[in-house]
Symmetry: C2
Subunit: 123 residues, 2 copies
């Protein structure tokens, strides 16, 4: 994914940044939530958010609901990167389907989803 994003004009989104950024909600996420979803510690996520902020992909806003918390939200550039990422995923998916056949690709997706939901049931 980082290589695909680099080719599309986002060469500074390294894999470790994507590990965190992929979980960002458009209206802002808490550091604690990002840490839990990305299976990383809070200090690690803070570091990655620092970097994403420095690079212009996210900004920190105070959380109106809790004075201790902050919301990490994507900037306009962050949203562009997300759109590019979704496009890249779609193209990779189609390229793979072309290799093994649409039928096989659909089965693969179905079974992977099934396993994911068995291992990490959606809340």
């Amino acid at each position: 994914m980082a290589a695909e994003l680099a080719r599309r004009g986002f060469p500074d989104l390294r894999p470790a940044l994507l590990a965190v950024a992929q979980h960002l909600q458009a209206d802002g996420s808490r550091v604690t939530d990002l840490a839990e979803r990305s299976l990383l510690t809070k200090p690690t996520v803070v570091h990655m958010v620092d970097e994403l902020e420095r690079l212009g992909y996210v900004e920190r806003r105070p959380d109106p609901a809790d004075g201790r918390a902050k919301l990490v939200a994507p900037t306009a550039r962050g949203l562009e990167a997300e759109a590019a990422g979704r496009e890249a995923i779609g193209q990779m998916r189609d390229a793979w389907a072309a290799l093994i056949g649409e039928r096989s690709m659909a089965r693969l997706e179905t079974e992977l989803r099934r396993l994911r939901e068995a291992l990490w049931p959606p809340a």
Copy 2:
């Protein structure tokens, strides 16, 4: 895998070491070959082999076929770790099959193999 191996008595086999060690042939592999298979650079592999040697999992022997080359071969302990790893893989596979059903698991394996062979055809 590192967590499973730790539980089985090999707590010092970190993920980065497994990335290299998983490609070791029983009769010895060259650093260049390990680098290509693990998608890492030669200096990185040298570093990991240094570590694996220090921990007692591999040893370096001269390659009788080429005076420049060396063969990195598993020690007795290295072979024990490999056996433990294979056992762990089998148990994880069965645990997942119990979650999603043997039929689904078999389909998943078939389609993953198909994709792997399309992306990286076996030489």
